[in-house]
Amino acid sequence: MSQIDDSVSSEAQGALDFLAEMGQEFSSTPDLDKTLLKAVHLIAEYVKAEAGALFLLDKNQKYLDCVASVGPVQITGLRLNADHGIVGNSVQQNSGYIVKDVEADPTFNKAVDDKTGYKTRSILCAPMGVKDERVGAIELINKRGDTGLFSDDDLNLLQVLATSAALAILNARMAEQLVEQERLRRELELAAEIQRSLLPNISPEDFPVHGMNLPARVVSGDFYDYYQLDDGRIAFTLGDVSGKGMNAALLMAKTASLLRCLGKAILEPGALLARVNEEVCETVTRGMFVTLVQGIYDPERGYVRFANAGHEPPLVLTSKGEFFTIPAESPPLGISPSLIGDENFPEQEIHLDGGALYIFSDGVTEGYLAMGDELGAEGFKSLVKKTEKKGVFSLLSILKAKILEGDRPLRDDVTLLVVDDNISVKSKRFERGFVEAGPTVSLGEKLMTIRIAARPDRLRLVRRSVEETSKFIGFGKNDVSDIVLAVDEACQNIIRHAYKANEDGEISIEIRKRDSAMIILLRDYAEAIDVSKVKPRDLNDIKPGGLGTHLIREVMDDVNFLSPPFDGGNLLRMVKMIG
């Protein structure tokens, strides 16, 4: 007995070693086909077969494809019907199959042998499957040795090996799926990252425009944007693309980019939306559309002018604490360019006068609260009221907390944009200095604009341009000289203090005539300077520094540093009244 025990245990040990080796093979090689070939090879060796083949069921389970074979005849690529033949039956019945002697089996199909010239004498076939999941089968041909015939023991052994091969194949397939899923997830993450980069950076609390976007999925179909124009006004956008997911996100990226790019050249919201609508209509597919509000806010005077393409009506909270909404006057973008024709989208203008404007996607009002109720328009209003005194950041964080409070996933992207004129009224950043007459955000006529290297040897050119423009506007001789001096001095300050004499910088100068004022905007692209340090000199102290700033203030009716533009630099506005 002890001898038999020894032989059994050594045989079992051999099988275990073999299985371990095969498992190792499967887990260490990413190429499944190569691994399968190695497995067939190992199994055929182990069972001492002359030839072996591994068949896998195709996706529809109709065919068995030979994916690996070893032995004198290569049958890799051979396709068998999955419902008959030795291999087919073995798979269908989920049982091992043995033809000890082909000569004695009338059902044996000699066709393959006739084709290959190989003499089949004995066949083993074991199904590969785990529980109900069928994978395929392994077939071995001809035992090595004199008789060439397999025994029942051989079949038992093959069945064990086939089962573990099936496990290994299923594992490998699952790993492949995981890798693919991980790849898709990573791609989605990257898409979301790019999408987030399309949103503006968080602005300081005393900046009048703020926004928030919470995507319902990884990517969002909503977007918002705001940026400061060279003249100090702030352009803003909030849009909602129909649908969620990747297609909405891609259309969102396109629309946001178009607005960002065209928005710097087209300063009329109605004209901008008309232009973007044309572009979106040209490429939009399957009934997708974009609802959108785009506008321009003048922080100095508290006016907002905007166009609304089919979006939720923006909400206004007046400085007296009253709410009103302003419904859209035109259809969403992407519906049809001809709906509007060649006309621009209609614009609306409101004087915030210390109040605030709220533009939001329906994800805000339709957001679920902890109890499962929607926030609703009234809920949103009461949040606005509650946080009125605490500022925009407080509103954004409380809204976020409320909507994310429940365990439910967001049903829609949540996006909000706030234009708070109250901040502008209070903020030092937006001192309401000089206000011209007339309730319009119009900038007047642009008469001259140059962008020029910030170098001393360019100042003469600047002076000549400003001189001619001032004469054109109708200023008298002395005023013309004063204006030329002021612009020259302002440019010097930029060259010497903002760029610190680094000659790679540039200065943009724009001159406009609005009503009875000449407005000169000077922009540089250097690091923001500390405005509080720009002071006219004390005239008793006769030293060069500060004299230029003093001269500017002497000759101009209004001199203001506007809030620094987002992309850096400084923006100085000088106003000279005509007559």
Binding site: P456, L459, R460, R463, S481, L485, E489, L539, I542, L547
Partner: protein
Amino acid sequence: MMEYEVEERSNTLIIRLTGDIDLQTSPNVRQGLMGSIDKGRPIIVDLSGVDYIDSSGVASLVESLQTMRKKGKQFILVSVSEKAMRVFQLARLDKVFTICSDLDEGLKIVKGE
């Protein structure tokens, strides 16, 4: 673009500036003035050819004036154009400098007449 001429007459340096004095040219003007100051003579700066002067040009003149005062020498501006005069006025420096209508008047002051 900027010309700088020095003439010596009755122990006085007469400096004639021609062109725009701005951030580009004022370093040369300053250098010239400092060189002339070193000669230790009274200086008359003739600004008849200067149509434009900015704060950096004014600063060079202020610096010269201060240095000359320390040396106890006279520093006089003459023939200041209307435009340049406007800048001195805006800078409240029109009373700080000795400004004469023309060169002869300047020379008279130097001679103590």
